[in-house]
C-alpha cells in the first residue's frame, strides 16, 4: 500500500464541482500526516482540461464515451480497475448524489472500511465526521487497510483546494464497459426561466418553520423589501410552495449571496451544504439547538412570525430615513 491519498473528482455538465476542491483540500491535509501525495482520479469523456485548476500532485485520467454520463455501474467498474492497479492509503468521495452511489458500494466490494460524513481532517490527522444532522461529531483514525472517506462540505473553502495544474497525468486504460446495468436515458433540465438563485446577492430562505403556503407571502414581502429573492429548503419545495429552481442544498443549488437570511430552517446537513459560500448568514429559528445556528453569523431564537412584522417596519423606516 502506498501512502498516497486519492480523490475521485466530481464534475457535472463540464464543470468541476465545489466538492472536488474541498476534497482536494482535505486530501492535502491528510497527505501531510500520512506522508503521501494527492492523486486525483478524473473519469469522463473529454474531461482532461478539468484537472488544471485542482491542487493535485498527480492525476489518473480515465476517458471513455460511456463515462460521459454518470452511470454508477460504469464508474464503479473503472474505479475498481484503478484500485486494483494502484493501492491508495485513502480515497475521498463526495458525499453527493454522485459520490454516494460509489463509495459504500466500492467499500463493500473491496472489503475495506468507509468513514462517512467527513467534514474536516483534524490537526492530529483524524477524520472528523459530522453525524446525526450535525448534532454529533466524531474523530476517527484511518484503518490499516485502504480507507474510503465520504466528504461533506463545510470544513474547507473550495479555494483551499484550488491550484495546479498537476505535475503528472497518467492515462488509465478504461476496462470493458459493455452491458452497463445503469444508464442515463435522458436529462430533465431544471426550469431555467426562473431566476438563478446561485447568482443572487440577497436571499431570503424559508423552511419547514414557515408552516403554511400563505406565509410564503410574508417572506416574499421581506425579500422584496431587501431587494432579494426567495429560496427554500427541501420541505417547502416538496410541498410545492416554491418551484424546484429555488431549492438550496444537496440536490438543489449551492448559493453564495452576500446575505442569506434563513427563516424557520433548522439546518439539516443537506441544506447547509448549499449555503457555505454565503458571506453573512442570519438564522431565525425557534429551536435554540437548531444546527443552522452553528453556521450562521447571527442567530435569532424567536418565533419567526413574531419577528417579521416589526422587522418589516424597522427596515421600511431605515430605508425611508
Amino acid at each position: 500500500m502506498t501512502q498516497d491519498i486519492y480523490v475521485v473528482i466530481e464534475h457535472i455538465q463540464g464543470k468541476v464541482s465545489d466538492i472536488s476542491y474541498i476534497m482536494t483540500a482535505a486530501a492535502k491535509d491528510l497527505a501531510q500526516h500520512e506522508g503521501g501525495e494527492v492523486v486525483g482520479i478524473l473519469l469522463g469523456s473529454n474531461v482532461s482540461h478539468l484537472k488544471d485548476n485542482l491542487a493535485l500532485d498527480r492525476v489518473i485520467l480515465g476517458e471513455h464515451p460511456d463515462l460521459k454520463d454518470f452511470s454508477s455501474d460504469a464508474w464503479k467498474r473503472t474505479l475498481l480497475a484503478v484500485f486494483a492497479e494502484y493501492s491508495p492509503r485513502a480515497v475521498f468521495f463526495g458525499n453527493t448524489t454522485i459520490g454516494s452511489d460509489l463509495s459504500s458500494s466500492i467499500a463493500a466490494h473491496q472489503d475495506c472500511p468507509i468513514i462517512n460524513h467527513c467534514i474536516k481532517i483534524s490537526d492530529q490527522g483524524l477524520v472528523t465526521s459530522q453525524i446525526c444532522g450535525g448534532k454529533i461529531m466524531t474523530d476517527s483514525q484511518l484503518s490499516e487497510k485502504t480507507t474510503l472517506i465520504s466528504m461533506i462540505p463545510g470544513g474547507y473553502k473550495p479555494e483551499e483546494g484550488q491550484g495546479g495544474p498537476p505535475r503528472d497525468v497518467v492515462e488509465f486504460p478504461v476496462p470493458d464497459l459493455s452491458d452497463l446495468k445503469v444508464k442515463v436515458a435522458q436529462y430533465i433540465e431544471p426550469d431555467t426561466s426562473d431566476v438563478d438563485i446561485s447568482q443572487e446577492k440577497v436571499l431570503v430562505a424559508v423552511g419547514r418553520g414557515i408552516q403554511t403556503e400563505d406565509n410564503i407571502e410574508l417572506a416574499q414581502e421581506l425579500a422584496d423589501l431587501l431587494g432579494g429573492t426567495l429560496c427554500a429548503s427541501r420541505p417547502v419545495i416538496d410541498q410545492g410552495w416554491l418551484p424546484t429552481s429555488r431549492l438550496v442544498g444537496k440536490s438543489g443549488k449551492s448559493v453564495k449571496p452576500d446575505l442569506y437570511l434563513s427563516l424557520g430552517i433548522s439546518g439539516a446537513t443537506e441544506h447547509l451544504e448549499g449555503i457555505t459560500g454565503s458571506k453573512t448568514i442570519v438564522a431565525v429559528n425557534s429551536d435554540p439547538d437548531a444546527p443552522i445556528f452553528d453556521v450562521a453569523k447571527y442567530g435569532i431564537e424567536v418565533d419567526l412570525f413574531d419577528l417579521i412584522d416589526p422587522l418589516l417596519e424597522k427596515i421600511e423606516a431605515a430605508k425611508g430615513g
Binding site: 418565533d303 412570525f305 413574531d306
Partner: protein
C-alpha cells in the same frame, strides 16, 4: 243564546256536508300518511339502526319545548316572532276545528260565553297569523336575508297558508254578515270584514251563496295543503318534531360517540349514505332550511365552502336520488353539493350550528364521522398529517421532545412540583399550546405565579403529560385519541391529587366529558378555580383595574360546557367594567382554531373568524382590552389584532393577566 252551528249555510240537499268534509279530509290525510310512510320508511331502510327510544318523558318535554313552544325558534326576535305567530295561530285554528268536531259529534259545549270566547280566540289567532304572514312576506320578498332558500315551494307554502286563513275569516265574516248574531263583536276581525260585506249592500242570498263558494274553495285548499305537504316546505311540521323527539339525550354535546361497529365488532367508517344512521338521514329531511346554522357558522362566515345547512341538505338530496330510483343506498356521500372533503375539514366544531338549530339537528356528529373515514383513508392535508404524526410520536402537535414540555417553568422564582412524584391538591393539565408555544410561555409562567401567590398546592406532570386529545378526536383520528387517553389516564393514575385544573377549554371538555376516569374527581377550568379563590378570599385585589374590557367566550367552555359566569365574575372582581359583544355567551363567534383547524392549512379565506371577532369588539364603545380564557385564543387573537390593524387600540389579555395586574 248563540251556539255553534255546524255547516252553517251549507245546503243539505247535496247530502250531509260532514260526509263531504270527512271524506275529503280523510282521503287527503290518508294519502298524506301513505306518502309520509313511504318517505319515512326509507330512513330506516337506508340508515343504520340506532336506538332513540329511551327517556320518553324527556322526549315529550322536548317536543313541547322545541316543537310547540319553539324555544329555539324564539332565540332570534324577528324570525322567532314571525314563525311562532304563524305556527301558534295554526295550533289555535287547528284546535278550534278539533273542538268544533267534538262539539258536533260528542259533546255540545260551544254555546253562550264559551262560544263567544271560542270565537274571540279564533279571531285573534287569525290576526296573529296575519301579523306573522306579513313579517314573512316582508322578509322573503323585501329584506331577503342570504341564509334563506329562495325556491318556489316556500312561496307556495306561504300562499296556501294565507289562503287557508283568509278563507276561514271570509266564511266567518260572511256568516256574521248574514246572521248578525248578538256575539258578533267577539270576532272583531270577522265582524269588521262582515260590516264591509254589509256595506256593499249585497243581499243575504248573495252573501250566503258567496259563503258557500268560499267555503268550498277553503276546503279544497286545506285538502291540497295536506296532499302536497310531503313535497313542500311544510313537510318540516312532521319531520321537525320527529327530529326533536328523537334528539340525542344520552351524551352532552361535548361527548362524541365512539366509532360505530358492525354486529361482529368491525369499525364502520362512514363514507356512504347507508352507513349513516336513520337519525342522521332524518336530519336531512327535518331541516327547515331556516339558515340559522349558516349564519352562525364561523367557517361559512370566513368564506369557506362549508355551509352546515347545505351539508345537511346534501343528505336530503342524496335520499331524494335514492327515492327517485336514480341510485342505490350505497351512494357515496362526498363529492356532492354541500358535502365535500373541503367542507368537512373547514368545520371548527364550535357547536354554533347545533345551538341554533330549531329542530335539534346534530351536524357535528355527522361531520366527525365522515372525517374519521377520511383519516382512515389517509385523505388529509400535509399539515394535519404532520401534526397527527407528531401527536402520535411525541404527544404534542409541535413535534417537540416530551422532555421539553415543562421547559416553560424555567425562570420561575418558585419551582413547580412534579405531580407524578409528589402529592398535590391540584393537578394542572397544562396542554400543548400553553406548554410549547413560544409566545405563550410567559403567560403560562404568570398563571403558575398567580397560583403560587394564592397558595394553591399544585403540580404538573412534566413529560408524563400528553395532548389530551380533544381536537385529535374531532379531527376524526379516533385511534390516536384512544391512545392518548390511555397514556394520560395511566400518567394521572400515578399522581396523587384532589382535582384537575386546566387553562385550556379543549382539554377541559375532553377530560370532563370523554375521559373514562376510574375515579371521578373535580375538573376545573382555571376561570372556575379563580372565581372560587376570589370568593373564598384567597385571592384579594389591592389594585382595582378600572379597564373597560370585553370577554370572548371560548366555544368549549361556554357553548359546550355552559361556563359563562365564572370568567365574568373574575373580570368584574379585578375592577374591570365588562362590555359584552353583540355575539356573546352561547352566541359567541368561534376564533377559528377548534376542531383541529389550528393544525390545518388555512386555505382560501375571505375574512378569518378571529378578525371578524376583533372587528366586532373594536366597534364597542371605548373598550381597550379583549379578554380571553383559552391559550389558543391568545395566539389567534394576537394575530388578528395585528392583521386587522387594531393592535394599538385593542389589547388581547388573558384572564390571568387581569388577575396578575390587580393582585
Amino acid at each position: 243564546m248563540p251556539e255553534y252551528v255546524e255547516y252553517w249555510g251549507i245546503p243539505h240537499q247535496w247530502g250531509s256536508p260532514s260526509i263531504l268534509v270527512y271524506s275529503v279530509m280523510f282521503l287527503a290525510a290518508g294519502i298524506l300518511l301513505v306518502r309520509f310512510f313511504l318517505k319515512a320508511r326509507l330512513w330506516w331502510k337506508a340508515g343504520r339502526s340506532e336506538s332513540r327510544w329511551d327517556r320518553i318523558p324527556t322526549r315529550i318535554w322536548y317536543l313541547i319545548k322545541y316543537g310547540i313552544i319553539q324555544a329555539r325558534v324564539l332565540r332570534q326576535s324577528y324570525p322567532g316572532v314571525m314563525h311562532v305567530a304563524i305556527a301558534w295561530s295554526f295550533f289555535i285554528l287547528f284546535l278550534g276545528t278539533a273542538l268544533a268536531t267534538i262539539h258536533s259529534h260528542f259533546f255540545r259545549f260551544l254555546s253562550g260565553s264559551v262560544f263567544s270566547f271560542y270565537k274571540l280566540a279564533l279571531d285573534l289567532a287569525t290576526i296573529l297569523f296575519l301579523v306573522g304572514a306579513v313579517l314573512a312576506i316582508y322578509r322573503r320578498y323585501v329584506t331577503k336575508p342570504e341564509r334563506l332558500t329562495y325556491q318556489p315551494q316556500f312561496t307556495w307554502t306561504l300562499v296556501l297558508l294565507v289562503l287557508i286563513v283568509l278563507g276561514g275569516i271570509t266564511t266567518e265574516s260572511l256568516r256574521l254578515a248574514v246572521e248578525q248574531p248578538v256575539n258578533a263583536a267577539w270576532s272583531p276581525a270577522g265582524w269588521l270584514l262582515a260590516r264591509g260585506f254589509l256595506a256593499t249592500g249585497a243581499s243575504t242570498e248573495v252573501l250566503t251563496n258567496l259563503h258557500l263558494y268560499v267555503w268550498l274553495v277553503h276546503l279544497l285548499i286545506v285538502a291540497t295543503t295536506i296532499l302536497t305537504l310531503p313535497v313542500g316546505s311544510l313537510f318540516h311540521v312532521l319531520t321537525g318534531p320527529l327530529n326533536i323527539f328523537f334528539a340525542e339525550l344520552e351524551r352532552p354535546t361535548g361527548t362524541l360517540p365512539p366509532t360505530p361497529t358492525t354486529a361482529d365488532g368491525a369499525p364502520i367508517y362512514v363514507s356512504k349514505l347507508n352507513q349513516l344512521t336513520w337519525k342522521q338521514i332524518l336530519n336531512g329531511d327535518a331541516c327547515t332550511e331556516c339558515g340559522r346554522c349558516q349564519d352562525a357558522c364561523p367557517a361559512h362566515g370566513a368564506g369557506y365552502i362549508l355551509n352546515p345547512k347545505e351539508l345537511i341538505l346534501g343528505i336530503r338530496s342524496l335520499m331524494d336520488r335514492v327515492k327517485s330510483g336514480q341510485a342505490g343506498y350505497d351512494l357515496p356521500l362526498l363529492d356532492n353539493p354541500g358535502l365535500s372533503q373541503e367542507a368537512l375539514w373547514a368545520c371548527t366544531t364550535c357547536g354554533a350550528c347545533i345551538t341554533e338549530c330549531p329542530v335539534l339537528i346534530e351536524h357535528i356528529d355527522t361531520i366527525v364521522e365522515l372525517r374519521r373515514d377520511l383519516v382512515i383513508e389517509g385523505s388529509i392535508d400535509g399539515e394535519l398529517q404532520d401534526a397527527l404524526t407528531n401527536l402520535g410520536r411525541y404527544g404534542n402537535s409541535f413535534g417537540q421532545s416530551p422532555r421539553k414540555r415543562a421547559q416553560w417553568t424555567e425562570g420561575l422564582e418558585q419551582p413547580v412540583k412534579d405531580a407524578t412524584r409528589e402529592k398535590v391538591e391540584y393537578l394542572w393539565y397544562v396542554g400543548d399550546y400553553a406548554s410549547y408555544y413560544p409566545s405563550l410561555a410567559e403567560l403560562t409562567r404568570k398563571t403558575a405565579a398567580v397560583f403560587q401567590k394564592a397558595g394553591i398546592d399544585f403540580g404538573v406532570m412534566f413529560k408524563g403529560e400528553n395532548n389530551a386529545g380533544n381536537d385529535v378526536r374531532r379531527v376524526g383520528e379516533e385511534g390516536l385519541f384512544e391512545m392518548l387517553v390511555e397514556k394520560n389516564i395511566k400518567a394521572m393514575e400515578r399522581c396523587d391529587y384532589q382535582a384537575i385544573v386546566t387553562t385550556d377549554p379543549h382539554t377541559y371538555n375532553t377530560l370532563l366529558n370523554e375521559y373514562p376516569f376510574p375515579e371521578k374527581r373535580p375538573i376545573l377550568h382555571y376561570s372556575e378555580l379563580l372565581a372560587q379563590l376570589i370568593e373564598e378570599g384567597r385571592i384579594q385585589f389591592s389594585n382595582p383595574l378600572n379597564f373597560r374590557v370585553t370577554y370572548h367566550d371560548p366555544c368549549y367552555l361556554g357553548r359546550y360546557n355552559g361556563i359563562y359566569e365564572q370568567p365574568r365574575k373574575v373580570i368584574q372582581a379585578t375592577g374591570c367594567e365588562l362590555v359584552e359583544m353583540p355575539r356573546t355567551r352561547d352566541r359567541a363567534l368561534c376564533c377559528g382554531a377548534g376542531g383541529g383547524r389550528i393544525w390545518m392549512d388555512e386555505g382560501n379565506v375571505k375574512e378569518r373568524a378571529s378578525e371578524s371577532r376583533i372587528r366586532e369588539a373594536a366597534e364597542l364603545d371605548k373598550v381597550d382590552y379583549f379578554i380571553i380564557a383559552c391559550p389558543k385564543d391568545y395566539t389567534m387573537f394576537q394575530d388578528a389584532v395585528k392583521t386587522t390593524g387594531f393592535e394599538e387600540s385593542l389589547k388581547v389579555l388573558d384572564l390571568i393577566d387581569l388577575v396578575d395586574k390587580a393582585i
